[in-house]
């Protein structure tokens, strides 16, 4: 069994190696063409040119496909590679393929031949296989309709013409495809979007046209006696060549829902009310609109104004300004409104080129971006009168080719009266001497407008800030922990010093007097133990003051200690006498009335003694 498996594995490896060896050889270049299956008249379909053995696009001569209106949809490298490892042996194969995709439109129904094309790959020419396609003609229904119109059938080169499409929809639709040759006729027209779809009322909707979203107007309408939706949209065509231009007929092919039926007769399906289990059926229908012939004339060369900027159609210009009563140098906001059919082409009139403006006004080069409001484009410019002789903002001309008159025409805005007052500037020279007239003009800072962009390396520094991240930076670690360490160390040192015996003794000594007086104040002079308590306080005072054990001190001991410490004899005598009397009271069981303890006298004696000892 094992022997057989080894033989099988050997054969498999040999076959794969053989395939690898064959594929490792240079893959020959082959070029072929393919199309999708179902093709209808007037509906775009995909045509693919497949280049095997090469992974880049070739150069294709599309001349033979002219009647199919070819349009490139790009291409894709579909090369693939495969790596096989068997028994440690690695083999690699790569299949090269590039697919170029075009969109074609079948010109007629029936059997149509797509001729072979020449494709140049790596300097060699190859031909694709011809393909015969069966082009179907979609059905016609009164549920959909299409109309095409244009604002006028004769005009001039550069004149905006509005191509209007009206699509009637009286049934549920699936997918749809428009074929409007005029919108792909780059040879005769520049195509522009309309600011709003033609017509009034209704609802504005978004729909797809040639892969782009456009805005259309949806209204209720009637088509061939049936109520339906009327969808209107349009584009602006600007003819770029004179002569007779034939716009081909437009068409739309739609999947129209013909019926909605149940998938089965199973009673359970009815329970689900058909929502999930019902099936809509669609059929292909088309509707078309006839073509239009245009008669386009060239613009005459005679009478062309010097400032003609290429505007053709119907245009108007108006201006407003404010304020109209100013001092020399004050800003005046000039608003120029230009109305017309195609506002994209309208630029701000060059005010600096008008002598009446340039001589009387300072016109900055910067200006705010124009705004479009309705069918008007609005430009705003700040100007400043440069002398007080200015009496008006002059009329501003706008030259265009008037299609109604068939001639160039220059229209003017109305002049705006201005009242400009001289600005009085008192200079230092005038203040010192009225004879010296300053020629300097006042420099005024403009606070409006915008400041310039930033440049340089600081633009690319990452300045995002997080306090948590900053805390771990060395600088901040030092800033936060260094002084804290200093504070904690200082506190600990102070605490240790405070608790040393010498310090405690010194503190006790320093506070002994005040402490004794405080305690004496708390004694009730009427109590029997008052003398005893007073004697204890006095002994404690002497003990604390001279670092002695207070319990064992007598009046006599106190006298010795105090005398040794250079206390005044008289004060010592008074203190010791008072202490003796208090002790007598303690040991003799009370004193006579005339020997009673006077706490006030004791307090005074302690206070005087303490003061004398401290000094």
């Amino acid at each position: 069994m094992r022997h057989r498996e080894i033989i099988q594995a050997g054969w498999a490896a040999a076959v794969i190696l053989l395939i690898g060896a064959v594929q490792a050889k240079a893959q020959p270049i082959r070029v072929g063409a393919a199309v999708q299956r179902e093709i209808y008249v007037g509906e775009p379909f995909q045509f693919q040119i497949q280049i095997d053995g090469y992974e880049q696009a070739g150069e294709v001569d599309l001349g033979p496909l002219d009647r199919f209106s070819p349009r490139s949809m790009g291409g894709q490298n579909q090369s693939s590679s495969m790596t096989t490892i068997i028994n440690g042996q690695k083999s690699q194969s790569k299949t090269l393929r590039y697919v170029m995709v075009y969109q074609l439109t079948a010109p007629s129904a029936g059997s149509v031949l797509i001729p072979s094309l020449t494709v140049e790959v790596k300097g060699q020419k190859y031909t694709t296989n011809p393909i015969t396609i069966n082009v179907l003609k979609p059905g016609v229904t009164d549920k959909i309709g299409l109309e095409m119109g244009i604002s006028q059938t004769d005009g001039y080169v550069g004149q905006p013409l509005v191509l209007m499409m009206t699509w009637y929809v009286g049934a549920n639709l699936g997918s749809y495809n428009f074929n409007i040759p005029a919108l792909r006729d780059a040879e005769h027209f520049v195509i522009e979007d309309m600011p709003a779809p033609p017509g009034v009322g209704g609802e504005l909707i978004q729909m797809e046209l040639y892969g782009e979203q456009i805005t259309a107007r949806q209204n209720e309408g009637v088509y061939q006696g049936n109520r339906c939706l009327e969808i209107t949209f349009g584009k602006i065509l600007i003819p770029i060549k004179p002569g007779t231009i034939q716009i081909g007929g437009a068409s739309v092919i739609c999947n129209v829902e013909v019926t909605s039926r149940s998938r089965s007769r199973n009673p359970m399906d009815d329970f689900f009310s058909g929502g999930l289990f019902s099936r809509r059926e669609y059929e292909r229908f088309s509707s078309s609109a006839p073509g239009i012939t245009l008669d386009i004339k060239a613009l005459p060369s005679e009478g062309r104004p010097a400032d003609f900027s290429g505007l053709v159609g119907r245009y108007s210009i108006a201006t407003t300004a404010g304020p109209v009563k100013v001092n020399v140098g004050d800003p005046i906001t000039l608003t120029i409104m230009i109305g017309g059919e195609l506002l994209r082409l309208v630029d701000m009139p060059n005010l600096a080129a008008l002598p009446a403006m340039a001589d009387n006004f300072k016109i900055p080069t910067s200006q705010s971006a124009p705004k479009v409001s309705g069918n008007r484009k609005i430009f705003t410019q700040t100007i400043r009168a440069i002398h007080d002789q200015v009496t008006e903002i002059p009329a501003i001309p706008l030259s265009y080719f008037d299609v109604d008159q068939g001639a160039y025409f220059t229209t003017y805005s109305e002049a705006i009266p201005l009242e400009v007052l001289a600005t009085k500037v008192v200079t230092a020279g005038q203040a010192l001497s009225a004879q010296v007239a300053s020629q300097a003009s006042e420099i005024e800072a403009v606070r409006t407008g915008i400041a310039a962009n930033y440049e340089g390396p600081e633009l690319l520094e990452n300045t995002a800030f997080s306090p948590m991240a900053a805390m771990v930076r060395p600088g901040y670690i030092v800033l936060w922990t260094g002084p804290l360490g200093l504070l904690i160390t200082s506190g600990l040192v102070q605490l240790m010093r405070r608790n040393s015996p010498g310090r405690q003794q010194a503190r006790r000594k320093a506070h002994s007097g005040s402490q004794a007086i405080r305690r004496l104040k708390r004694i009730d002079s009427q109590s029997k133990s008052a003398a005893e308590e007073a004697a204890d306080i006095m002994r404690r005072y002497v003990g604390a003051r001279f670092n002695q054990t207070s319990q064992s001190l007598t009046a006599r001991d106190c006298r010795v200690i105090l005398s040794e410490n250079r206390a005044d004899e008289k004060i010592v005598d008074q203190f010791c006498e008072l202490l003796e009397r208090c002790e007598q009271s303690r040991f003799a069981g009370g004193l006579a009335e005339n020997d009673s303890v006077d706490l006030r006298e004791i307090k005074e004696a302690v206070k005087v003694l303490d003061k004398q000892l401290k000094s």
Binding site: T365, I450, E455, E458, F465, W480, P483, L487
Partner: protein, 272 residues
């Protein structure tokens, strides 16, 4: 089997990490983008009078490059947002210019150029919503909270902390010197205010989000659907700023500076 799983996991992790690092722009690429943006900006400024449409395209290129520096280069710099705001403003997009100025302002609130340009952009918008008196008073009283960047506040707090600790130590050594005690108390108090301001900033970053309307106009509604009646007699226009109260499906509940609340579609605004 476990070993294989471990190896696969490691390979996936290493692969993902290398992919992520490959996505980030190199310093050289960032420099190139910055240089190109400056060049395009100059060209656009030259063309704005003669050919505005071309200039607008160039401004778009400028914005794209700065956005790449921010998003792919991972650089967060107030000046980048400021430059983007300028480009949007010059191409007439007031909403996005204010949005970017506000983003820049978060990183450099005390920058006078940014304040000037933001003020100008705000003066150009159509909706001038009044600011509640309470907000105005707060902004005046706590100007230091609104005007200082987080970085500046953190630096000042750190310095005050250090000064406070040093004077605390001096107080301990100088036999309870009153002057040292006062300095310590004042520095700690001011530092505490700044630290509080920092905490508020961090909280606002996470919880108190703000935004700007970027569409030309949007109908603000009383609920999160097109079927709700409008909140205001006029639509809101590009550049109107708001506080974000709630985000629900495709709608945002917002509060204007006047205190009025409304709902707007999420696609009509940008969040700062």
């Amino acid at each position: 089997m476990k070993f294989h799983t471990l190896v696969k996991t490691m390979l996936i992790v290493v692969g993902t990490a290398s992919w992520a690092s490959a996505q980030k722009l190199s310093a050289e690429e960032i420099n190139d983008l910055s240089y190109q943006a400056s060049q395009y900006f100059r060209q656009a400024n030259d063309l704005i009078r003669t050919s505005p449409s071309e200039a607008y395209k160039l401004y778009d290129q400028v914005i794209l490059r700065y956005q790449r520096i921010v998003e792919e280069g991972g650089i967060s710099n107030g000046r980048l947002y400021y430059n983007m705001g300028n480009a949007y403003l010059l191409k007439g997009d007031i909403g996005r210019s204010i949005l970017n100025y506000r983003r820049g302002q978060r990183l450099m609130p005390d920058n006078p150029d940014l304040a000037k340009n933001l003020g100008y952009a705000r003066s150009q918008r159509l909706d001038q919503v009044s600011i509640q008196a309470e907000k105005r008073v707060l902004q005046t009283l706590f100007f230091w909270h609104y005007d200082l960047s987080m970085q500046a506040k953190f630096f000042l707090t750190s310095c005050l902390w250090a000064v406070g600790c040093v004077f605390g130590s001096l107080w301990l050594w100088l036999k309870r010197n009153r002057f040292a005690l006062w300095i310590m108390g004042i520095t700690f108090l001011v530092g505490l205010f700044l630290a509080g301001s920092l905490i508020v900033d961090r909280y606002n970053e996470k919880a108190h989000r703000q935004g700007v309307i970027t569409l030309d106009s949007v109908v603000a509604r009383q609920g999160d659907g097109d079927n709700y009646p409008a909140s205001f007699t006029e639509p809101l226009h590009s550049g109107t700023e708001f506080d974000l109260l709630e985000e629900r499906r495709e709608w945002l509940r917002i509060e204007l500076s006047s205190g009025d609340e409304a709902w707007i579609p999420i696609a009509s605004a940008g969040i700062i």
